[in-house]
């Protein structure tokens, strides 16, 4: 695996691959992120409104709680778990297929460092692009909550907007982004590892991609605990 982090053989080819990976792994995930974030944002807002009924709690708490959940957990950790399913299985099956059809051997035999050539653009590309997804998810989640305020009578828009602005701490956004850098690295490198070391045929590629998703999800949860302890204390 140390072979991955070498200087690429040809920078022009590397940059071209990097752009391709950013588009495939990052840009192509945008629709999924938008849809999931809007709906989860909306659901959180509804849940909060229904559960906060005590007259002692100010009504702007709904917006505030929605924001905190999105910023602290959903748009980083939960989103990463979802992306582990999409991006992780994509990477593992793609690299696994290259392995079983001997495309990786073909690279090796040309004298190319195959691990670096295939894996590095994926890791770097996704890690670079993932902050965009996080910020997008935060924004879309808040938009989902706003839609609930706007189109139902559960709470007023002014109330919600006031809530999501109250006691705002910029650090939480950074916290989400920093966490996701680690998660993105976990997703891509674990998936690449499983794909690169596939032995056998198409069946094993499927298994590798399942294993990659399971392992990276567990690692993400572990890393979440550790990072939260480190970053928020």
């Amino acid at each position: 695996m140390t072979q991955v982090f070498r200087t690429p053989d040809k920078w022009r080819v590397f940059l071209k691959n990097l752009v391709a990976e950013i588009s495939k792994l990052g840009v192509d995930s945008i629709p999924l992120v938008i849809i999931i974030s809007i709906f989860i944002g909306a659901v959180i807002t509804i849940q909060m409104t229904l559960n906060i009924v005590s007259p002692l709690i100010p009504s702007y708490s709904t917006g505030l709680a929605t924001r905190e959940i999105l910023l602290l957990e959903f748009s980083s950790s939960i989103l990463s778990l979802i992306l582990a399913g999409k991006v992780g299985s994509n990477i593992a099956s793609e690299i696994g297929t290259m392995r079983v059809t001997e495309q990786i051997d073909a690279l090796d035999i040309m004298g190319i460092n195959s691990a670096c050539f295939i894996v590095l653009p994926k890791v770097v590309g996704f890690v670079l692009f993932v902050p965009v997804l996080v910020v997008l998810s935060m924004f879309m989640g808040l938009l989902g909550g706003w839609a609930v305020a706007k189109f139902t009578t559960m709470l007023t828009v002014e109330n919600y907007v006031y809530g999501i602005q109250t006691m705002f701490r910029e650090w939480y956004v950074w916290y989400g982004i920093i966490k996701t850098f680690f998660f993105a690295f976990i997703i891509t490198s674990v998936a690449a590892y499983y794909g690169y070391y596939v032995k056998g045929g198409a069946l094993e590629v499927g298994k590798a991609s399942t294993n990659a998703v399971v392992s990276s999800s567990i690692l993400i949860l572990l890393a979440d605990v550790i990072l939260t302890k480190l970053l928020l204390q």
Partner: protein, 262 residues
């Protein structure tokens, strides 16, 4: 010339290659023949260094493969072209992209020259310009083999390895591919090593033949003396098909006739 000396290879405690010694000559089409599962692919992968044999040495024109450092190995690999059993074309590149790939990575040529070289190689293996922009999944198996050959010769290799270049192809296309490999070998003086279990290829282009049986090298020779060998395993292999059974009967009758005369 490529030499293998006493090559043995184990997988998980099971021995697959047994002390194989063989020589592959420059400017000739060298064939490795043997039944399915006899260890041809494993032996070829040992030759090019994709697998490391537990015992034995391999020399490329006197250079010991095992003693090479990473840089020398890279250098050597640029001199090697390889055609894999399953073609191993890059799915996400077009035909042209596949053939240009090694040029893009290693040659100092300008983009225009790379393009010309790639197109030259594609024409050389007999593919039309209409195929250039298709993806590997959109062309037939025979065409994929040709593209893989074009990719293997793009950098003018000194050593060319082909793992079953004509398996799964019809007899006519097989012969075309064999002739192509033979032509390229003689034209550029390449050391070509071809894995095959096709007797047609053996008779067509078998200038030097190494016969592998269950991981043992049982016989070496050429297409002229393959029918006259005394090795039982080779005779079983050679005369397995109906056609060659006929040939065998003919040879036996001929021998009897000669005995009768003398």
């Amino acid at each position: 010339m490529i030499e293998a000396e006493g090559v043995s290879k184990w997988f998980d405690g099971q021995q697959v290659l047994f002390d194989i010694t063989a020589r592959f000559e420059t400017g000739k089409t060298n064939l490795i023949i043997g039944q399915s599962g006899s260890g041809k692919t494993v032996f070829m992968k040992c030759l090019i260094g994709l697998l490391t044999p537990e015992e034995g040495v391999i020399r490329y024109d006197g250079r010991l493969l095992r003693n090479m450092n990473n840089n020398e190995r890279r250098q050597l690999r640029m001199e090697i072209g390889m055609l894999f059993q399953g073609s191993a074309l890059f799915d996400n590149e077009t035909v042209l992209g596949n053939v240009m790939f090694p040029l893009k990575m290693f040659s100092p040529l300008s983009y225009r020259e790379q393009l010309e070289r790639a197109q030259f190689c594609i024409r050389r293996v007999g593919l039309e310009a209409t195929a250039d922009n298709k993806y590997p999944s959109e062309i037939s198996g025979g065409m994929q083999k040709r593209v893989a050959i074009a990719r293997a010769i793009a950098l003018n290799p000194r050593y060319l390895f082909c793992d079953e270049p004509n398996s799964g192809l019809d007899p006519k296309t097989s012969i075309l591919i064999d002739e192509l490999l033979s032509d390229i070998t003689h034209e550029y003086g390449i050391t070509t090593v071809i894995n095959t279990h096709d007797m047609n290829s053996v008779l067509g282009i078998g200038e030097h033949i190494v016969f592998i049986n269950k991981g043992h090298c049982d016989w070496t020779g050429d297409d002229r003396n393959i029918f006259r060998s005394t090795s039982k395993s080779l005779n079983d292999f050679v005369f397995a098909s109906h056609l060659f059974q006929e040939v065998k009967r003919f040879l036996e009758r001929e021998a009897e006739a000669q005995e009768g005369q003398s």
